[in-house]
């Protein structure tokens, strides 16, 4: 009896110190989401689901989730059922290498099997391979709506990139891209988001560049946009030529950025200035 009591006491002491340890870790973590670089008004806008304009896209995405599409005449919900259960944690894990998805009735493997895809890419794979429907255009309201609806299901979860060894070379490539200078201004991502984060670029605070809230409703865009759009925006900003929408370099960079933000809380769909 006493041994059991002592055991329980020890267990609770260990538990307490573990909690204290993780709390201290969170306190000492120099990383923070772009959410904390915004003023109180914008934070309130993001936090109120009836004021956050991204929720309009989520609402549209929820309708699309149930809508049958393509020659397979299937809706997302026909395979994945209730997104609140099945899509939980997905946005916190992607980009990832999807399982090879030969379409129904065809034995050919998906064209780029073995390549990592981001959430938008995965949704389009489902569309072309499973629903037999044309892929959605990048940044189209339908694709953004579905992505936002899926991303919402991971809100509040820690970013947890997949521990797939096949991803390592892509992630390394992404890290190289992050650190390499490019464009007429000869800047790397790191020059702003590591060396000068928290300082001002004209009137705007330079964020640390953690992809915690994508897709984001960016007030400057007056619409929802993907991480890819944000990256293109940065490339143009450093006067480099934006890569084509289907360039695998985006996914490599996204993989690295998600790894860099590992453990941070996802707050998608976010509002950003």
């Amino acid at each position: 009896m006493t041994r059991l009591t002592i055991g329980l006491c020890l267990a609770s002491v260990f538990a307490a110190s573990w909690f204290a340890g993780s709390w201290a870790l969170a306190q000492n973590d120099p990383r923070h989401s772009g959410y904390h670089d915004m003023g109180p008004d914008l934070r309130r806008m993001q936090d109120d689901d009836t004021a956050n304009p991204a929720m309009l896209f989520v609402q549209a995405g929820q309708v699309l989730w149930q809508e049958k599409a393509g020659t397979a005449n299937k809706a997302c919900a026909d395979c994945h059922q209730d997104a609140a259960k099945t899509m939980r944690g997905v946005a916190a894990r992607y980009p990832a290498i999807p399982p090879s998805m030969p379409g129904p009735g065809s034995d050919k493997p998906a064209s780029d099997a073995g390549q990592p895809v981001d959430l938008e890419g995965r949704i389009n794979l489902c569309r072309t391979e499973r629903q037999q429907a044309p892929a959605l255009e990048p940044e189209s309201p339908d694709l953004l709506g579905l992505t936002a609806y899926v991303a919402l299901q991971s809100r509040g979860q820690p970013i947890a990139p997949a521990d797939d060894p096949r991803l390592v070379p892509f992630r390394t490539k992404g890290a190289d891209l992050y650190k390499s200078r490019q464009g007429q201004l000869n800047l790397s991502c790191s020059n702003c988001h590591d060396d000068n984060a928290g300082k001002k670029l004209a009137g705007a605070t330079i964020p640390q560049g953690h992809p915690t809230g994508y897709p984001i409703y960016r007030l400057e865009w007056q619409t929802l946009g993907s991480l890819k759009r944000r990256l293109r925006n940065c490339l143009v900003g450093m006067r480099a030529e934006a890569w084509d929408w289907d360039d695998p370099q985006y996914v490599a960079l996204e993989l690295y950025l998600m790894d860099r933000a590992r453990g941070m809380t996802l707050d998608a769909p976010a509002v950003r200035p």
Binding site: T50, A51, P53, M55, L56, Q222
Partner: protein, 106 residues
Amino acid sequence: MANVLVNAPKTARRGETVEIKALIMHPMETGFRAGTNGRIIPRNIIEHFTATWNGAEIFRMDFSPAIAANPFVSFFTVASESGTIALRWTGDEGFVAEHQVAITVT
């Protein structure tokens, strides 16, 4: 069907001040911008917004091209009687959107 998000209390006490928040998906195209082909994109905005409580007007607003896309409107009113709050947006290109919420006043 227009995409609308409305936040209004379901219940209120008589005489209580209630806040009604309405968000609607709309491009609010100003009519001053040129498209990729160099031609002006025709103006496409919401022009009027009205709110009625059991048919009686409680709030009205005219929009201008300077208002951002997906406009958000928040206003206050005094709860009078149980019934329906009806919101209506109208605008260019025959745009009409309506949304109703029920409210119980005790």
